[in-house]
Symmetry: C2
């Protein structure tokens, strides 16, 4: 049943909240509570309508909003499932990969270079929204395109949400980070922010990307948010000259 929105609450009249939004928020609450885990089948629209005492159309609209937010995936004939990046036949939401390309080629599987547990620097703390000195895991990896090194990623992961991430990264060497968080920690990445800067190749770029001294590179700071709005990991990425970042705005 829907919470009656606190009849005692005085600030009600103006921004009357649609029922479908209330239902959507309760469904998110149930995902966050662990009642449903990634890959689980959500009750059908008819079942949800009965459970929340709303019409099917309203339950439907709530589910549509969840789809927009990358929380669930609908499949005709099968049902609605909590989004998951795990393999198998079903239920992958939007992909955040595919961001870098070169000569219109997608980047290939990553090679892992380094793993470390550590504590948050001031910059880490700022990016992750945690305190300086909090535990973090650090991972470095390299991705290629057309058989040539293309981008190098320094990934920093929140230690409180993802204990022993470096060790698990080292053991599993996942090709998809979103999949890794999904399987290992039941965390669902639903949003990614990126900022792209111009920079010059540093020592590491020269070593691993084959950049020359004085050559320009793309520097990307990328933050990944989970369903709860927390930054789970951020990455400092360098892409060698020739590799590009692409985006479409509608």
């Amino acid at each position: 049943m829907i919470e009656p929105t606190k009849a005692s609450d005085p600030k009600q009249p103006k921004p009357r909240k649609p029922i479908y939004l209330t239902v959507k928020e309760d469904l998110i609450r149930r995902v966050l509570s662990g009642e449903w885990r990634p890959g689980d089948l959500v009750p059908s629209e008819i079942a949800l309508a009965e459970e929340y005492s709303v019409s099917v159309g309203t339950a439907r609209k709530a589910v549509e909003k969840l789809v927009q937010d990358n929380v669930v995936v609908r499949q005709r004939g099968r049902g609605t499932t909590i989004a998951t990046y795990r393999g198998g036949k079903a239920a992958k939401p939007y992909k955040f990969l595919n961001f870098y390309s070169e000569q219109d080629e997608r980047t290939e599987r990553a090679t892992y270079l380094d793993f470390a547990e550590g504590t948050a620097t001031e910059f880490d703390a700022q990016q992750l929204g945690i305190a300086i000195g909090s535990p973090v895991s650090r991972v470095t990896r390299l991705r290629s395109a057309s058989g040539r090194p293309a981008i190098i990623e320094h990934i920093v992961v929140r230690g409180d949400f993802c204990p022993n991430a470096a060790e698990r990264f080292a053991r599993l060497r996942p090709s998809s980070i979103a999949s890794f968080f999904d399987r290992q920690y039941n965390l669902l990445i639903v949003r990614v922010d990126e900022k792209v800067y111009a920079a010059l190749a540093d020592q590491e770029d020269r070593e691993h990307l084959g950049s020359a001294e004085g050559e320009p590179v793309l520097e990307v700071i990328r933050s990944a948010y989970d369903l709860g709005g927390f930054v789970i990991e951020y990455r400092l990425i360098h892409a060698r000259q020739g590799v590009y970042y692409t985006n479409t705005t509608r």
Copy 2:
């Protein structure tokens, strides 16, 4: 009335097209035909439902799709209008600006540097999807952020769609390009593709952006599509070091 989808067409059974999509496409056709121009009020949902002999809910869904595509803007109590970038109280769709910033400051009004009519080079032709030698207009402008030059744009416009664009640019010096195409040519920009590369500052960047020799810059190739799917203009943009490109993926 809706065209009955060619009853004689044999390829019907599998991909049955939803009615609301057919309605949406016909509404787009009417916009492209000039029946409605940017800023015009579209018939109400009830009127559309009657006109197309569908239920209000179906007409509504068609209009919702048009909103998603940046073609129309809905305002409760007022009605639905064709999207427009013209000033006034109403009807602005998504903004494609806001792409560049610095120290979290938006870029300011543009300064125009150069205007020219010309013919398409091979690169122009490729970007605009026209023949080499076709007429194009070229405009160069500079945008600042925090009082300092930040990005320089070379804009190339299709001459067949936008005759005398350089001359009009010179006369009007519009702050918004989308607004310019809207007012001058009744063209509605609904989608923008961008590719971001790393490059080194060239002579022009040193002159106008204050870049030093060997300093990195962002190079962006940006194509603007109108409602009909044509590339109306593309830009070659350089942003000096420190200015960044930002994007959120949901």
